[in-house]
Every structure is written in C-alpha cells, then in structure tokens.
Assembly symmetry: C2
Homo-oligomer: 152 residues x 2
C-alpha cells in the first residue's frame, strides 16, 4: 500500500479544521508505524518566545489521532477516531519549530486493535507521542487513549 | 483589590500570543478563586463539527496558567508561570462555544503556594479546570501542575 497516498485525504481533513489551519500543522510522513507532524514556532509561540503548551499538546494529540486513523485506513476501515484522555509532560522549553511523532504504546498491538474494531465496530488504542528538541531530547511527551467508532 | 483591573494586562499578554489569538480566546471573569475563559466553536471546530480536543485542552491549560498568574499578582508578585504536566479527560462532544473555568485543587492552598514562592522564588500549584456543556455536565476536564518562577 502506498503510505504517502493515505496521507492525502487526511491532510485535506486537517486543512479544513480552523484550529489546525491556524497552527499551520502539517502531516509530514507516515512509515507504517510512526506519524510525523510539524508546525512552525511563529504560529505557536507563547509570551516567553517558546512553544505554547497548548500547541505542543495539540500537535501531539493530532499526531496520535492521525496515527490511529491511518492504521484503520491501512486495514480498509473508515472510522471516526476520538481522543478519550491524555497525559502530557512538558519537559523543556522549545525555541524552534515544533516537530512531533506518534507511535503505538509498545505494550499493545495494532493487530488486536484492528481485530477488535472488525468484530465490535469499536476499539481503543493507547498511543505515545513526543515533541523533540532539535539539540536532542524531548520538549514534551503525551500518552493518549483513542477510541475508534465505525462510521454511521 | 480590583480583580477586573488584574485581567487587563493578562488579556494583552494573551492577545499577543498567535495561537490564543487564533483560538479567539477571551479571559472573561476572575472572582478571586475562579478564572472563566471562553472561545467560539467556529475557530475551534474539528472535522466532526464538535470542539477540537486540542482546543479544549489548550483553553483549560490557559485557564490554569492565568489563574496561577493572577493569584501571584494579587499577592504582589510578577512571576513566570509554566505548565509542567496535565491530565485531560474528554467526556462528551461539545457542539457549542467553549466555556472553561479553572480553580485550585481543593487538596492544596493558595496561601502555602504564595508563601513558598515568597521564600524560594519558586512554587508549584495543582489546578483543576473544566469545559462545561451548556445543557449541564462536563465536556472535558483537566488537572494540571503549574510551576511559578520569580522573573529575572
């Protein structure tokens, strides 16, 4: 499956959401396991000249949402995905553009998530995400639970 | 102390932050214990026509940040306040404008926070926040830890 082609409709969905357009969020790359997203500092800066916590959290929230959506699409499902809860740690101020990636919590498995969704039309995935510091290390990290529901 | 007057400089700070300007966030009311903030759905809507999770989280994050900042200003301090971590639960979809309030975790006390800040130039506050549903109930709730540092 062409993973880049999967990103095209999701990019259109994001572009049509006013808060993501304002963040200038971009879905950059999906390698089948990790989704990479970015946003410029200029649109997401706080009063201290660093990345706004709400933007860090928002970027990671979307990265996890996008990842779960893409994994379902890979498996041939068109689902509504919602974030159910999340825990965020803000570790270091970020003075550069925002760069985040999301991946599945290694304690869980996509094939079980997909199989549960296939059987019940509903499934939960625990996703991890980070915003990286360009000098190495982590600006912020998220653990989020996402719920996928069959459409209609 | 005129609580409304305290909001004026904080409103200017928020208006100068691009992500908050894009959210059309407004600091509405501070009664000395609770800070009320709002934002229109139109600027914060997702692909499902409901409030974007990142906007709910961002609005509550700012409500808590503003509350801690205002409590320090009430006590005569000009501090830098950062969010250190937060846990958010998304309970119900919100189809209306976003309305949030923040208050101190009742297990803790402002006078201890202020006294710690006075002595050490650094203090932590655990703040709770909610986004309300207009029909009653809660769309989302946050518990966040904020760190205040003396400026300079």
């Amino acid at each position: 499956m062409d993973l880049d082609a999967l990103l095209v409709p999701l990019r259109a969905t994001c572009a049509a959401m006013p808060p993501l357009a304002a963040m200038q969020l971009s879905l950059q790359r999906f390698d089948g396991e990790r989704l990479h997203v970015g946003a410029p500092l200029s649109a997401n800066v706080n009063d201290k000249g660093t990345a706004f916590g709400g933007s860090l959290s928002g970027l990671m929230t979307i990265a996890g949402w996008g990842l779960a959506t893409l994994k379902l699409q890979q498996a041939g499902f068109d689902a509504e995905v919602y974030v159910a809860d999340s825990t965020v740690r803000y570790r270091a101020p970020l003075l550069h553009d925002l760069q985040a990636e999301a991946w599945l919590d290694p304690d869980t498995r996509w094939d079980e998530f997909i199989e549960t969704f296939r059987r019940r039309g509903k499934a939960r995935a625990q996703v991890l995400a980070q915003v990286l510091l360009p000098e190495g290390g982590v600006a912020a990290e998220l653990s989020g639970r996402y719920v996928a529901l069959a459409k209609g």
